[in-house]
């Protein structure tokens, strides 16, 4: 790594010093293309975020792709029903690495007001890894921008080698997650324990 002070000094002399890692991550974080799909009312806030007032394009994410093959990020914007959950997981599996997930709103992170309903999944993080959770019902566009910036910081901080490197640089990395089957009474299995180990409840 280049010393920060030295970098600034060299910059004053007209010499630009960087690392491949920084350059690579700068490129990745500056053009995250979201997948174009919405699940419920949060999607309306997501649409508002892309429009002129909030302008997601400032962060290089205005290009919503209607195909999972071209998308880098999935915004789970709304209630995930048990009927929809297998399709959401399947779409995530079809995305190319590196891929990221923002769970937007109370429903997507926990089931929200429908948590005890018979047809609502209690959080999409039971089946796929979620990078940023946003609470709110629905979250304001500013909250989505905040989540987006959090994701950018996360990408920026990723090292290209060693433990915790992005999955696409890890030969062992597993980017596919089992799609739940719609059973006679519930989804089977009810959660992917590899992604979602039972959280500890502090009482």
């Amino acid at each position: 790594m280049v010393d920060e002070g030295l970098k600034i000094e060299l910059g004053k002399q007209g010499v630009f010093v960087t690392t491949i890692e920084e350059l690579y991550n700068w490129g990745r974080k500056s053009s995250i293309w979201p997948m174009q799909f919405g699940l419920a009312c949060c999607a309306i806030e997501m649409i508002a975020t892309t429009m002129a007032r909030y302008d997601l394009a400032r962060f290089g994410a205005e290009v919503f792709r209607p195909s999972p093959r071209q998308a880098d990020m999935m915004i789970i914007s709304g209630t995930v029903t048990k009927k929809m959950a297998p399709q959401v997981v399947r779409l995530y599996n079809q995305m190319a690495e590196p891929k990221y997930v923002i769970a937007m709103g109370a429903c997507a992170i926990s089931g929200g007001p429908f948590k005890q309903g018979y047809n609502v999944l209690k959080g999409i993080d039971r089946y796929i890894p979620v990078d940023v959770h946003i609470p709110g019902c629905p979250p304001r566009p500013e909250a989505l921008l905040q989540a987006f910036m959090t994701l950018q910081k996360k990408i920026e901080a990723q090292h290209l080698t060693g433990a915790g490197r992005p999955r696409h640089l890890d030969a062992e990395g597993q980017g596919e997650f089992p799609v739940p089957v719609q059973g006679e009474h519930d989804l089977e299995p009810t959660s992917n324990k590899g992604v979602w180990p039972l959280p500890v409840i502090i009482r």
Binding site: Y118, Q182, G183, E184, H185, I201, R203
Partner: protein, 201 residues
């Protein structure tokens, strides 16, 4: 219409929305009359919904004459009988042409286990199609003559009817960070008991 078997179910509440109980075997003819009659002209079906009436246990006091110590006496006895439940479908009709309504129709199945067929009114009011599918999905009423009777909200492999009173939801209460009341009690079954702590609190 003689023999149509239409009864009136009165509503004693302040809204006073009384309804018509139809005999399922004549329901299609009655519905057609309600739609086509020039005075009624009930051309708009706004809502179809279901009601689940579970089996009801009724305790009754009956006076029985009995021989007590050789003497005939009248003794009060409590007897329990089970009134069989049923599934009910409710239709709300309005007339756009005559600007009146609602007229409420009710139909009941024989029981809530094996004889759950009712005639579909989709052929009279097209808007019944999806709503009858929803009632089929959530209550398990089978509409005979329905053009496309599939589940609407739940997936095809699902076998339960979630809006019935005896529906048992899957026991996935292993993680309830903000549980209270009934949810807390169910979540407690998944938690290890702690000393000095009452389960579910």
């Amino acid at each position: 219409m003689p023999g149509a078997g239409v009864g009136i179910v009165s509503n004693p509440g302040p809204s006073g929305q009384h309804s018509l109980r139809l005999n399922p075997s004549h329901a299609a003819a009655v519905a057609k009359f309600l739609r086509d009659d020039a005075e009624l002209a009930l051309d708009f079906l706004s809502n179809v919904t279901g009601v689940d009436w579970p089996d009801k246990e009724i305790a009754e006091k009956v006076k029985v004459s009995k021989a007590v110590d050789g003497v005939e006496q009248t003794v009060e006895e409590t007897r329990k009988r089970v009134e069989p439940g049923c599934l009910e479908v409710v239709y709300h009709l309005f007339s756009v042409a005559r600007k009146h309504g609602p007229v409420i129709l009710r139909m009941r199945t024989v029981n809530r286990t094996d004889q759950v067929e009712l005639p579909s009114l989709t052929s009279i009011w097209r808007s019944a199609e999806f709503q009858e599918r929803e009632v089929f999905d959530l209550y398990g009423v089978v509409f005979t003559g329905h053009p496309d009777l599939r589940r609407l909200l739940m997936w095809d492999e699902f076998t339960d009817h979630p809006m019935r009173r005896d529906y048992v939801e899957p026991d996935d209460f292993e993680y309830e960070p903000t549980a209270h009341d009934a949810v807390a009690a169910r979540a407690a079954a998944h938690q290890e008991p702690r000393e000095g702590k009452v389960a579910g609190q």
